[in-house]
Structure formats: structure tokens, C-alpha cells
Symmetry: C2
């Protein structure tokens, strides 16, 4: 962990992926992030994969380095505690609806400098999740083999919940932007970020929305080929699949040199009357002929030799791995300074865990912090942030409004 | 545009998607973002789709609301100007390598409070792009039809450059975090964010890395089904495809009510000896039987009626659209307050463009600003930021070190 945000406290009332991610990024930068959950766990406390004891490996990775407070958010008293905690902290990330008990009006009462970042579904208040905004975005009907007929091709969902992760990172950014503005003006803000707007807005930011309107129709199916440039998956003699990306003259020259295909390339250039080295456009238009040349050369060598040649020439390529392979890959994980040991996870299962994606010059990062047990910091946070006495807290625990750590066993309500 | 960052100036020396996105998000929040490019355009100035005049619709959407300075970055003089501009501005976003002329050491010389955010390929300095880190992540071998045999299934690349967009948003966040730290301590920072670390780190943050290690193997193929919950694409009687997501009791009850499938569900519950309403686990384990019930009900109704019923019941669902449909959808674009008119694009093509994804309470957003012409602000920026005289700037233009706007025609060097 790097400590760029060590003077910042944030209350996170959240579930699933996008809002926990926003809090996670802040926590990995040293902020005190206090996640508040329903006693027994919120809607995401069971998310797959669970260990045999019922601990969610998703939850324990999306909530690393945070503190946990467990409240009965179905009770008026628990809700008021949650509102008061957010208000006294001054910064809130949530995916609860504006019309819930945790409205900006409630948390900012008497506190005009309050900052709330609220993740919504669609901008008009309709519910949405990553899976559903993705269906609307157009990407699933562009994904999958090029040979599939566009008119009958089924949608192919991306497995990565990309909209959630973009939204989470964007919300961490907007929180910091609102803090920047408050530091200059004293003003608070409610910032609402609809997941659906992140999806259709990203289609637009990428240029694809303008592209569709300019063309007056959909992009042709490309399979794994890169749009407007040269690149695709290829197979080595020993059956390894790898992706090659050529979007610059250097990448082109490297690939041609590594595969020793200057001769057939020159023949194709002469035949087609074009030059490839400086033109993405020419490489894209003639991609099928180029793919055939590249695949023929790749198929003559085992992957180890191909990788050695491509690396030496400075090409941009990568072997496809299954995720299990990736998880065990020394270059990606075990020997990667992004990762560190995480022996004290709530699941009891020890594995390498990532730090912040940001590497800071000179600073030696601490080991990744584990996620809390649910309710682990209920007493500490209510004492330090809300100012409750030990007696008052224990009375709340006795009445079931507050719960302490679930370390000694999951306290599921269902 | 909202003006949370109107007191902030950033120099962006960038190309492709991730680093321009970081600058875009800041510009859409009111920051002055000065993008510096090679005269004639950098590596991404031609990115598809191009208009018939050769204007890139990708470039003009990833660089909205920015200023543009065109320099000969192959010359020592142009490089020194670029370094000086970054140094005098104090904040830099770049994807140039640390070993380039734009090292942190160069831009921070005499300026210990300098903040650089540098996007890299892999953490060890190897080149990477979205396409290649994706191959390593494991996702392409989990994507595609469930029926495909895992051992022979080809990789399926996601079409969305998700790693670029997550990295871009994350880098905007890290820039703000470094600014926050500087405001408190006076310290600058170099922040390096490897695209490859964002990919494998996101696999880990999602819990999937721990999942693979805990299971000791890959996740079974799921096609479009949601992992650990209930959801998939279904088809209506009139052939519309839609995604339904059920991850909460409310979503379950809504779907069952809307499709009037309580009876077959009760029969399945009795037969399997389980209850579905409160358990993602049960719904996932019995997903094939549940999918059959849902598809049978969906197939009896046209989409319009299905959508009406699902909406009324409060289900979470969405129709798959092609991207051309999405781009023309009033709910997503034309009637969505995220979008506004953008008549003054460099391409001359007018279309709706997005503002910041963040909606701020009370503030009425301005129309989306267009991208600049390449070099449009060369003279202004070199005068105001570097302090050059008009005579000095024109001498640089005469020598080909600086170029003015390419409005009157693309000035391609190749």
C-alpha cells in the first residue's frame, strides 16, 4: 500500500463490484475506508466463489484494506447510525438509491461540504447491472467468431465485468475531483454516476458511436481481429495460441523480422500495389492475406522459439493463458511486484494478493492488507467516528442494531 | 462539462486509448488538458474509423475538450519544448517510456513537486497493449458458447478495450490522489501504472485469481450465464434477445411474477428439494432447469409485452442491441442527458457526444466540447505556459519545430 490518501476517511455503503472497487482503490492508496453492511452480510456477501466454510473469495478481494461495520440497516436506529457515520465522516461512496434512507439530503443535513458519490443503474432510475448495460452497449453482438453470420449470430457476453470496473475507477476519480473542488471552494457535492451512462458513454468516447452514425450501419464482424489495424490470434506448431498486435511501424517491422516473412510480404505488396510498413489502413484492408502469411510462418515453429524471436525483435504479442494458468504464472503473479503475500484472509486461505496498480518511485510498498471480517471494526468506528461510549455500543449490540466481528463463524440471517 | 477541476492544468503526451482517456476524464471535469503530439499526428491520429477526409472519429472523441500542441518530437528542440511545457505545468500524463526524453527525472528537474502519471505495458518494461494483456488475463479462454469444449475452444477476444478504459480511469484517479498528497505535503510523485498489472490485478480484485487457486483449476465454461447466480440471454417469441440478471431476492421475485412461472418453479423446488428465492447458490446450481422454464415462458410472448411485464415487476433486464441500434436509441443517446450536441467536430460530422459520466446535483452542464484540430493551441500554449514571444513561436514554426492548426487540411508526414 502507498499512502497518498492516508489523511482521508470514506464511508462505503455498497454491494457487488462497482462501488466496492471505488472504495478498494482508495483503501489501497492508504485511505481509511469504512464499509457498512447489513448484519449477516449484504447482497454480495455470498458472491461466488465461496470456500467450503462459506467465505466469499470475491468479497474478500473487493474489500481488502477496508474496515467493516455491521448494522441492522432494516431498523430505523441502524439507518440513523449509518447516516450519522457518513455525515460525520464527510465522504460517502454508495450504490443505494437516492430514494433510500441514505439520500444526499439526509447525509448532508447540516453539512454543506458533504461529498457523496452515488452509483446508479440507468440515468433515469431504472435498475441495471453490468450484465444488462452490456447487452445494451452493442458489444455482445460484435463478439465471437468472424465466420458467424451477423444476422443470426448470438450475443456473446464478455466475462470480465468491465463496466463495473470502469465505473469503480471512475467513481474513485470523481470522489477525488469533488475533494479537489471542496478544498478550493468549501463546497460539497452529490455526484451520481449511472453504470448505463458509463457503458454508452464509453462507446461514444471510443469513437464507435460516431462510427456507427457515420457509416449508417454496424461494423462488420471481425472475430479476434483488431479493428482498423493488424492483429489476431495465431497458433504455433505445438498448438499454443498467441495474440499479435501491430499498430505502429516498429511493431510491423518487428513481426516481419521475427517471422522472416519479408519475402512473401514484398510479393503481396507488389501484387496488391500497396505498402504495409506505415499504414494501419493497408494492413487492415489486406488482413486476410497477411493473416495467412503470419499463420504459415507461426505454424512452422514451436511457441518457445516464436516467443524468443518475437521478444528479441521487439514485437507486441502475448500467449493466451487459461485463468488458472495466469493465476500460477510467475511473471504475472508470483514474481510480479504488484503482488504480495496475504496470509490473514477471512477465508483462512492464503494466496498472493495485489497492491495498488500504481507504482510510486522510491516508495517500498507494504504487503497487501486483508479484507476485514464483517463487523470487525463496528465498535472501533462507532466509538471514534460517531463518538458513542462503550456502554452505548454494547447496548446496541445487545439489541441487535450493531454486530461485532463474524470471525468465529458466519452469522447468516437466512 | 462540470467544472470541479477548472483550476487544474495537465500536459498529456499520449497515444491510443488509455492515456487519452485519463486526460479526457479530467478535461470533461473542467481541467485544461494540453495534449502534445508529433506534427502531422502521433501513432493514433489515423485510428479507425476515419471519415472520407481522413479524420479519425476515434481521435476526435478521445480528445474532446482538450487543447492541442503540435511539436516535432523527433528534434532535440521540440523535445526540450515538450519537457519544459510539462515541467512548467507541473502535471503530466504520458504513455512514453521512462527511458524516453520525457523521463520523470527530466520533467521534474528543479521541480520536486512535479507529478507524472506514466502508463506502461508490463511492469518489467515489456511492451503491451490492451489486446495482448487480455490474452494473458485468462478471459478470452472463458468467453464464448458454453457448448464449446474447453480443451479445444478458441480464444474469444472482448471487443471493448476494457483494460485501456479501466487503466485510463485509474490513472485519472492516481493523478488526483498524487495532487491530494502534494496539497498536504508539497511532494511530487512519479506514478507508474502498467496496463498488464491492471489486467492481472483486476483478475485478482474480482476474486477470480483466488478462485482459480482455491479450486486448483479453471472455472467451467458458462457461455452467457452469470457465474454463481442466475442470468443469461433469452429470446422472445418475436426473436428479440434479452439479458436477465437475478442476484437478489427482489430480482428473483420480479422475474417469477413477470413471467408467471411460480407454478413450474414450485414444482422444481419440490423435485430438487431446494428453495430459490434467497439463494444465489441454489439458482446457479439448478440454472439449466431454471433457464428452460424462463425460456419457455419468454418464448410465448413478444418482446414488447415481456418488457412491459418485466419493467412493471421491477426485474433487471435489457434487450441486446447492435451498436448501430444503440447509437440511434433515444433512451440511450438522444434523450439521455449524458449527451449533448457536438456540431463543431474536426471531422465536420455532427453527432451527439457525451459529457462527463458524473452528474452533479444542481449544476446544469454545458454542451460537450469538441476535440481540437491538431496544433490548434500551439501558439497560445507556448505563449502562456512556456512564456515564448510571438516572434520566437513563429521562428519555431518556420523551422518546422512547431506547427499551427491542421484545420485547413491534414498535414500528414507519411
Amino acid at each position: 500500500m502507498y499512502q497518498l490518501l492516508s489523511d482521508l476517511s470514506i464511508v462505503e455503503v455498497s454491494s457487488f463490484v462497482a462501488s466496492p472497487t471505488a472504495g478498494l482503490y482508495c483503501a489501497q492508496m492508504g485511505a481509511e475506508v469504512i464499509r457498512v453492511d447489513q448484519i449477516g452480510g449484504g447482497l454480495d456477501y455470498d458472491r461466488y466463489m465461496q470456500t467450503s466454510e462459506g467465505r466469499s473469495l470475491a468479497w474478500e478481494n473487493l474489500n481488502r484494506a477496508k474496515k467493516s461495520v455491521a448494522l441492522d440497516l432494516k431498523s430505523a436506529e441502524g439507518r440513523e447510525l449509518c447516516v450519522e457515520l457518513a455525515r460525520k465522516t464527510g465522504q460517502l461512496i454508495t450504490n443505494l438509491p437516492e430514494k433510500s434512507f441514505l439520500s444526499h439530503a439526509a447525509v448532508s443535513a447540516g453539512r454543506p461540504d458533504m461529498i457523496s458519490v452515488r452509483i446508479m443503474g440507468w440515468h433515469d432510475g431504472r435498475q441495471a447491472m453490468d450484465f444488462t448495460v452490456n447487452a445494451a452497449s452493442g458489444y455482445p453482438l460484435m463478439t465471437g467468431p468472424a465466420e458467424w453470420d451477423q444476422d443470426t449470430a448470438p450475443p456473446v457476453n464478455q466475462v470480465l465485468p468491465a463496466w463495473d470496473f470502469i465505473t469503480g475507477a471512475y467513481c474513485a476519480f470523481t470522489l477525488m475531483a469533488a475533494l479537489h473542488h471542496r478544498a478550493a471552494t468549501g463546497e460539497g457535492n452529490e455526484v451520481r454516476v449511472p453504470l448505463g451512462d458509463v457503458a454508452i458513454g464509453t462507446v461514444a468516447n471510443s469513437g464507435a458511436l460516431a462510427e456507427m452514425l457515420y457509416r449508417g450501419g454496424d461494423r462488420p464482424r471481425l472475430g479476434n481481429a483488431i479493428w482498423g489495424a493488424l492483429g489476431r490470434d495465431f497458433a504455433s506448431r505445438d498448438g499454443q495460441r498467441f495474440m499479435v498486435a501491430v499498430l505502429t511501424p516498429n511493431q510491423w517491422n518487428a513481426m516481419v523480422a521475427a517471422l522472416e516473412i519479408a519475402e512473401p510480404i514484398a510479393a503481396l505488396e507488389a501484387q496488391a500495389g500497396v505498402e504495409f510498413a506505415k499504414s494501419d489502413h493497408n494492413r487492415f484492408v489486406h488482413r486476410e492475406a497477411l493473416f495467412a502469411i503470419v499463420q504459415e510462418a507461426a505454424g512452422k515453429l514451436d511457441y518457445a522459439e516464436l516467443a524468443e524471436r518475437l521478444t528479441r525483435a521487439g514485437a507486441t504479442f502475448e500467449r493466451y493463458r487459461t485463468m488458472f494458468e495466469a493465476a500460477n504464472d510467475p511473471v504475472l503473479v508470483t514474481d510480479n511486484p504488484l503482488f504480495g503475500p496475504s496470509p490473514a484472509n477471512p477465508s483462512g486461505f492464503a494466496y498472493p494478493a495485489p497492491r495498488s496498480f500504481a507504482h510510486l518511485g522510491g516508495a517500498a510498498p507494504a504487503d497487501p492488507a486483508p479484507a476485514p471480517y464483517l463487523g470487525q471494526h463496528s465498535e472501533e468506528v462507532l466509538a471514534t467516528r460517531v463518538g458513542l461510549s462503550s456502554g452505548a455500543i454494547h447496548a446496541l449490540i445487545d439489541r441487535g442494531v450493531v454486530a461485532p466481528s463474524d470471525r468465529d463463524g458466519l452469522r447468516k440471517t437466512s
